[in-house]
């Protein structure tokens, strides 16, 4: 049973890393990280912080791009290209297929995050002559956020076309990061209806800001381990919920 999930995951991972998009994003990521070496000295005395800010933002945004661009077509494309026929007709449970696709894509995203992390640490060391272990905490929570978004993308690919799925995922990403701010604005200046609406959005959409400690870390704020555990569990629960919905949708699916 485990072998089946891992088999599908390994194939998905291989497909992901052999994709030109992955290579392009990887090269671009290296370019962005290296550019911080040039931009950093322009900020008076803040070179380390600028390097880390740029690095962490690049890790978050570029990995999100891979998760969404690959993820939202990950099941859809299998159906569209009919590759799914020869997989689902083997002794494969449908939940194993969804889980395998998720694990494979999560692996691809993790590889990108890990490579960029190593590069960022090296650049950081070159600039500051020391390792800032705290940025690993920010990267851990960014990675948890990416797992949540990867699961969301897999769900999207079972119910919508890649374009629609990508738009929805992007919207959720933006709202997820800004819902608290939007709600605050509505509380201060908005009407009653607007407040209710922003409340609904605030509670319905995962609050991705819980997982964003990037600027705190670069400003030298220590993150409480209990907070890290709470935020990780929060992301994990959402990811599981998205995957369960994806499985329920996929179980009912027919392949015409």
């Amino acid at each position: 049973m485990k072998a089946i999930v891992l088999g599908i995951a390994a194939n998905t991972f291989r497909e992901g890393v052999r994709d030109r998009l992955f290579l392009a994003v990887g090269v671009f990521a290296a370019f962005v990280l290296a550019s911080s070496l040039v931009i950093g000295p322009l900020s008076l005395g803040e070179q380390t912080r600028i390097t880390e800010d740029i690095g962490l933002a690049a890790i978050s945004i570029l990995s999100f791009m891979i998760a969404v661009l690959v993820g939202t077509s990950i099941v859809y494309r299998e159906i569209e290209r009919r590759t799914i026929y020869t997989v689902i007709s083997k002794p494969v449970e449908r939940w194993q297929f969804i889980l395998g696709k998720f694990v494979g894509l999560a692996g691809t995203v993790t590889l990108l995050v890990a490579s960029m992390t190593v590069l960022l640490l090296l650049i950081d060391f070159a600039v500051a002559r020391q390792f800032n272990g705290n940025i690993l905490v920010a990267i851990l929570l960014t990675w948890m956020e990416l797992m949540l978004l990867t699961a969301l993308s897999v769900l999207m690919s079972t119910i919508a076309s890649p374009i629609l799925g990508a738009i929805f995922s992007l919207l959720l990403y933006v709202i997820g990061h800004a819902s608290a701010d939007i709600r605050d604005l509505a509380v201060r200046f908005g009407s009653g209806v607007l407040r209710v609406m922003t409340d609904v959005v605030y509670y319905a959409v995962p609050n991705l800001e819980y997982l964003n400690v990037r600027s705190k870390v670069t400003h030298g704020v220590n993150i409480d381990p209990a907070y890290v555990a709470f935020a990780s569990a929060y992301a994990l629960l959402y990811a599981i919920a998205f995957l369960v919905i994806a499985v329920l949708v996929f179980e009912r699916k027919e392949f015409k």
Binding site: G7, A10, N11, R14, R81, R82, T83, V87, S89, E254
Partner: protein
């Protein structure tokens, strides 16, 4: 005990917006016995692929019961013993042929060594050894079909369902796949495959089911079809004068028949008597050729009769259905195509020439 059972199975497709009926399959009643090669015949859009997808659990029936190797069509356990090749298969483009087969082997829990060994053996079996390290994206249609067949038998299945397995192959490739299917049969496997290449079906199937417009018109053994098919005999003569032909009661004499004439004697008519009378009239018998309907003729006549439900079986038309020859012996050609003023008779001859093969 049957390995595949369709019991009153229907599948209704509705348009997603208005819920209008788009297409209905069935009710299909079918039993495929262990160890047989079953050919599922039908024109395009008859519902062959839908039937196979229902068996594989890729579609769910609207009503009825499907049993495959003693389990339901969604049974994961049953799928351990089933092989499946979809129509116009498409595979992961980023994998090599070897990697692809190893991937499928993984899904059956094969060990790494066993997987590698089996993948190599199967590629050899389908003639793709030389392409084992080539990525699937570079494969031709025929190669895809071959690797598709290899993945269908990666688990050494008891039952193999193949959707149009011979499409896209050159004659040599078709022969190889035919041999492979016969090899599966000789090893006691059951093969269910859909096709519209009747010659292949005729050569390798034990039984055929004919599906038209979502309904099974007939299930019969190939030998039964061939035996029951209406036969006639063509007697080729020379030196038969037009007067003599008239005296023999042959109608529709197409111009000059002296040089050569082909006389069709329907099955059940007095062949010996006809030949005797021809010889008495001074005709020289050049050949006597018993003719039999091919499966294709049978198939076409079934489609023709089944395509208009409610009308029942239409009376056989001697032009469109050359197998049915009502009445006594008749001249169907003077053997001088192009010279005869009787276009109709020649048209009939052409049709025969394209449809009828010699007795087997």
């Amino acid at each position: 005990m049957p390995v595949l059972v369709f019991d009153e199975v229907t599948k209704v497709f509705k348009s997603s917006i208005r819920g209008r009926h788009l297409y209905t399959l069935g009710p299909v009643n079918l039993e495929v016995e262990r160890g047989e090669v079953f050919g599922y015949l039908g024109p395009n859009a008859a519902g062959k692929t839908t039937t196979i997808k229902l068996a594989m659990g890729l579609l769910k029936p609207t009503s009825g019961r499907i049993e495959i190797l003693g389990s339901g069509s969604n049974s994961v356990q049953a799928r351990r013993r089933i092989g499946f090749l979809p129509e116009q298969p498409y595979f992961y483009q980023h994998l090599t042929a070897q990697e692809l087969l190893e991937f499928y082997g993984n899904l059956f829990g094969l060990s790494r060594d066993e997987n590698r060994r089996r993948a190599a053996k199967l590629l050899d079996l389908v003639g793709l050894s030389a392409a084992s390290a080539t990525t699937i994206s570079k494969f031709s249609k025929g190669m895809l079909q071959r690797v598709g067949l290899a993945q269908a038998i990666v688990n050494d299945p008891d039952l193999v369902l193949l959707d149009e397995p011979l499409t896209g192959l050159d004659p040599a490739g078709r022969r190889e796949i035919r041999d492979l299917i016969l090899d599966l049969k000789s090893r006691g496997k059951t093969v269910f495959f859909s096709s519209h290449i009747l010659q292949d079906v005729e050569m390798i199937c034990d039984r055929v089911g004919i599906l038209v417009g979502g309904k099974i018109l007939r299930v019969a053994s190939v030998s039964e079809v061939l035996e029951k098919s209406v036969r006639w005999t063509e007697v080729e003569v020379t030196g038969l004068s037009s007067e003599a032909a008239r005296r023999l009661g042959l109608d529709d004499i197409p111009g000059n028949v002296e040089e050569k004439a082909v006389i069709r004697v329907a099955e059940g008519d007095d062949l010996n008597g006809t030949i005797g009378r021809l010889m008495q009239e001074g005709a020289k018998i050049a050949s006597v050729m018993p003719m039999r309907l091919t499966l294709e003729d049978y198939f076409l006549s079934e489609i023709e009769n089944g395509s208009k439900p409610g009308e029942g079986k239409k009376p056989a038309n001697p032009v469109n259905n050359p197998g049915s020859v009502p009445g006594g012996p008749r001249i169907i050609s003077n053997g001088l195509e192009g010279k005869s003023p009787e276009g109709d008779a020649n048209a009939r001859t052409d049709l025969l020439a394209s449809r009828v093969r010699g007795a087997r």
